[in-house]
């Protein structure tokens, strides 16, 4: 198989930007183009709906299979699978870019370049630029790989009154119970001196973070 990208369509001049799918068209998308253009519009919409659903939430195989009998044209499950994989890849590629870096017009141009029938452009564009975008963006953020987050912090402040070695102590200490998002629960004591350290550091990082955000807003938006 040749790795040279074949320009689609009647010798259009390639623009100086890279297509939103990347310099090389992913194989899932390549394989989908032909069956996609032959697909009945209603079938296309049903598959696309499933694609969007799978981005928000898991889609099970039985859900996928369930749409086969509802199709008016007799599309085989195999073809449907190819189209589903291709559309999912295509929409993900679209969502990889911010709305400022990928304009709807360029998106459609790139679809044209890929050889996707122009009838389907507006439906595809509404997946990437439509009302669902905010929800999908949020989903991308929350599903990113990360260290566990602090799900819950319970604490108590104790003042030691007396101990086996001192009749009058009157020394405060803090007990923390941290529940992490990976299910771990950590219980430990924080001496007052360490508490000051922790509080100072958190406040310092928070300030740094705010400064960082202010600065990056000033930078050129890409």
């Amino acid at each position: 198989m040749s790795i040279v990208q074949v320009q689609g369509g009647g010798g259009r001049v390639a623009s100086d930007r890279t297509s939103f799918v990347g310099a090389r068209v992913p194989p899932e998308i390549k394989a989908m183009i032909k069956p996609l253009n032959k697909l009945d519009k209603n079938t296309f919409r049903k598959v696309l709906k499933l694609v969007v659903q799978s981005l928000e939430d898991e889609v099970t195989y039985s859900e996928f299979k369930a749409i086969v009998p509802t199709l008016e044209d007799a599309t085989s499950e195999e073809i449907l699978g190819i189209v589903f994989a291709g559309l999912l890849c295509l929409v993900k590629c679209g969502l990889r870019h911010t709305t400022t870096s990928l304009k709807q017009q360029h998106f459609k141009e790139d679809l044209d370049e890929l050889g996707i029938s122009s009838e389907l452009h507006s439906d595809l564009a509404s997946c990437v630029f439509g009302t669902k975008r905010a929800v999908l963006d949020q989903q991308l953020l929350t599903s990113r790989p990360r260290l566990p987050q602090l799900s819950e912090l319970k604490w108590r402040v104790d003042v030691a009154i007396s101990t086996s070695v001192l009749n009058r102590v009157l020394e405060p200490s803090i007990l923390m119970e941290m529940t992490l998002s990976n299910g771990q629960i950590k219980v430990f004591e924080v001496p007052v001196s360490q508490f000051h350290q922790l509080r100072y550091n958190v406040a310092y990082v928070l300030k740094q973070m705010e400064d960082l955000e202010k600065r990056s807003i000033l930078k050129i938006q890409d």
């Binding site: 941290m178 001496p191 922790l198």
Partner: protein, 160 residues
């Protein structure tokens, strides 16, 4: 004041010959002095009171003075050390952090999302080791954490 012995074996040998006492006697002397200081610390005794009470138990004056001196010059350190003594096996020992700006991820390019990673080292007295708690905060999450720490601080402030 510690669980360990105050002197090493070698030091005890030297003390023994310097003082001209048997090993058993030296042991008794050390334990008695420790006991006196422990009691002084427990009650946060004033030097004057300690001196009075030591004389009441017929301790020689020349021995009372050095004990009271040792107590009055070290009392502050000893008591503050004992105040810090805790029973909870796990203690926060160190806080490390790192501030990042996320630029991209597999599903999104050109991002600018700050995040802060914290590593809290907790000393575990039972295992003698250190446990590291690593958490990541977004701006919002860190702000929430900060607010909780502020609430704790307010409680501490209200104590003094």
């Amino acid at each position: 004041m510690q669980k360990e012995r105050a002197f090493s074996e070698e030091e005890e040998d030297k003390l023994q010959s310097a003082l001209g006492v048997t090993a058993d006697d030296l042991e008794l002397i050390i334990q008695t002095l420790e006991f006196i200081l422990q009691q002084a610390a427990y009650h946060a005794a004033k030097p004057q009171v300690l001196s009075q009470q030591l004389m009441q138990i017929d301790l020689q004056d020349e021995k009372v003075q050095p004990i009271v001196e040792a107590w009055s010059s070290n009392a502050k350190d000893i008591v503050s050390q004992l105040r810090q003594r805790t029973i909870h096996p796990k203690q926060l020992e160190e806080v490390k952090w790192r501030l990042n700006l996320q630029m991209a991820q597999s599903t999104r390019l050109k991002m600018k999302v700050p995040n802060a990673m914290f590593e809290l080292s907790v000393h575990d007295d039972n295992s003698g080791g250190r446990e590291k708690i690593r958490v990541e905060f977004t701006h919002e999450e860190l702000y929430g954490f900060y607010n909780q720490l502020e609430t704790i601080q307010k409680q501490l402030d209200s104590l003094s």
